[in-house]
Amino acid sequence: MSTEQKPAGCLGVAMKRKEDPRFIQGKGRYVDDISLPGMLYLSLVRSPYPHAEIKAIDIGDAMKVPGVVAVITGKDLEAAGLGWLPTFHGYDKQMVLAIGKVLFQYQEVAAVFAETRAAAADGAEAVQVEYAPLPVVADPFTAKRDETILRPDRDKKTNHIYHWEVGDKDKTARALANSPKKIKERIWFQRCHPAPLEPCGCVAQFDTMGRLQFYVTSQAPHVYRTALALVTGIPEDKIHVVSPDIGGGFGNKVPVYPGYVCAIVGALKIGRPVKWIETRTENLTSTGFARDYHMDVEIGATPDGRVTALHVATTADHGAFDAAADPTKYPAGMFGIVTGSYDFPTAHAEVDAYFTNKAPGGIAYRCSFRVTEASYAIERAMDILADELAIDPAELRRRNFVRKEQFPYPSSLGFTYDSGDYQKTLDVAMEKIGYRELLKEQAEKRARGELMGIGFSTFTEVVGAGPSKVFDILGIKMFDSAEIRIHPTGAGIVRAGTKSQGQGHETTWAQIVGEELGLDPQNIMVEEGDTDTAPYGLGTYASRSTPVAGGAIAMAARRVREKARKVAAHMLEAGEADVEWKDYKFQVKGVPARSVTMKEVAFAAYTNMAQIEPGLEASYYYDPPNMTFPSGAYVAVVDIDRETGEVKVRRFLAVDDCGIIINPLIVEGQIHGGLTEGFAIAFMQEIQYDKEGNNLNTNFTDYLIPTSLETPAWETEKTVTPSPHHPIGAKGVGESPNVGSPAAFVNAVIDALSPLGVRHIDMPITRDKVWRAIHQAEAMTT
């Protein structure tokens, strides 16, 4: 029997990412790396008009371009019953190619198929479209007036999409009316875009058996297969979706886009493979945007800073189609987390969404659905309240935190928070950042007229959608899945319904299996993204991989372990009930010397199984009992140049509590990446439209991605409060830094400017906005 040393556990180990050697050597295999014999290229004709009737489309010149094979229009697709595709939200549909009119600038109008990418682009340029411009609705407040109805195709002849609300409206109104102190502020979370470095794309091929082979940049390949079956009528078994390596998704690669449908139609019609890879401009102007929530936030409080009520009324700009990829019953996503980390006795949140002549979307950009908007709103509002009451913002938060003994905590907006210790996390942050010393320094600088700010964000997320009783996408419940097979030598493979886009699943999933089975994670292969081989899962977005698929992997591993226990009992010549799993091996209870490792059991499972069914594998479909609630305390310290308005982020500390950490190296990397995106959102990024509906941020010259030169040096720390219901106690972290950081940055800037009387500036906080705020404030006082 075994004389091996107890293997080290795998959770909490900073294993280097198994996938990185492949990526850093340029050996990743992305969709655009796929080239098939006879493959054609697709280029889309897009509308320069945000709202216009299509009078005529002339493809004559395009068909004369050398290399152009075919052109299809919306009418062609409509005739084939493929004119519209359902959005993932389930309550709306989106034109594949424009039919009758265009509803946003850069909308897809015609598809050109050609022998080369250049010929396809030339062909698209040669398509002549005659437009008759229509009045443009460029913001949701204009849309609200219903002077121009944008979607006459709908039964409801209004631009209003939905009204959603949660909480006790009357009780909240009464509490606000009776509150001795109140603040109210309109807080806009600007329209921004995930802008993954790899844009969206696909290759579609019908093989010799007539089966669709579809390689695509999808965060949710199984859902794609089902959606494609529903849209095209192709039986689901005749569709094979493969998501190869993906160069970042951040929610942008969740929706099904018109280019995908066109590629499939072209491949079917022409009988040749078709590749479509969008350009950067196409990605920024037509694929899923994020945010664009105008939030009127009202907080009631006592004079000593105890919150009494919260009301948030949001006007949401959804663009031309309601393509927010939210769960069916949650049109405004998880916006109910807007009470944040605070114990509001009552609250009411409502969202009204409108169509406008802008690109559709509203995706969960590196956050659970609409959680970043909610977190930003409450964290900004708490700072405004602190300013109103002249209470230190950290102290105001402390007075209102949900206390650790209150967990599981039922929030006034319907969530049951699983666990947390917000005070401890804030204490760690204040200690590590040296808050007292910073306050002293700030006082000295203010006396000299210098502008220095300290900003907090003590956020709580809700992630891991989700429990099947309430969460579904297109009716499919939001479970996730895993299959594990251990080979005779103790190596193994785990397949999951998720799809990594840089999150490091090949490492973390192997670590979970290694931890549960006492095997070397280096020899556990992870496979995702192939619908022929991976179990059905809802994919990777909204911070659901670790909370949901991570749970499935742990539970599948435990099923493997139960099977292995039978084999071990046979090997140890003991009753199954007398064999226990301890110190990463099976041993006879009370006789540690009589033990076998999982590696030995694996070999026996294929060679010495007696009456036991051979093999060592299991699967598990995990339906989480609850969401998980990661939290954090972030502190930003900024200095502002009074003359130029330039903001310098001197320090930024992120203290995260994401429960049990699987791989601290990956968690650290996730936090660094998310903070950098949060920094960009706070200071640089906005998809702007002018009043004529022109998108003004169509490339990386106008939509900025921070480089190492601009990005602050991040400081990180952690507290660990395990999730009580998750199989390994993990909560997920990938999106926390993007959720929590924007408010910390903005709070720090406003804190710096508060001596001038500045109360709020909407993101992105560019230097010209800061400069104007300073000069306006100075003009008021002189």
């Binding site: 897009r46 320069p48 008009y49 945000p50 600038q105 850069y106 340029e125 002549q128 437009y131 411009p133 401009t281 002018d690 004529e692 509906g693 022109n694 998108n695 003004l696 941020n697 169509t698 490339n699 010259t701 106008d702």
Partner: protein
Amino acid sequence: MNLQHSGEERIPASPDVVWAFVSDPGKIARAMPDVIDVTVHDPTHVDAVVQVAVGPVRGKFRLKVELLPDPSRRRIDLKISGGGFGSAVDMTAGADVVDAGDGGTLLKWSGQAVARGPVAAVGGRVLDAQAQKLIAQAFGNVRQQLSLAGDVHG
């Protein structure tokens, strides 16, 4: 992106000559800056292909031009629409041909345009200045063509 310009241009030719020029679809189309090709369909309709370069945005625009002449008032109005490389422009312009009293002509003109797509987004920062340059270029072309025709007096 909306553009609006107006002005007065002195042309050293008689009002009759200038009116004949501006109400001729072929001549007016060929006066466009960087014109590549002109196809006259009838006395009031002409298509033109022009080379456009606004900042980093460069390519060909196909434009449809409709002339709306009012000989009694010697006023010409133009509707121009078209685009290229994902951009579009819709423009209206008008000019009154006025006798300057010294044998020359005063062209009192105004125009407004809406630009959409990359030409507005990417080229937006320089579009206004570029428009002014193009207007100057267009009137320069008018003078040059009248000069070549021998219709301009010193």
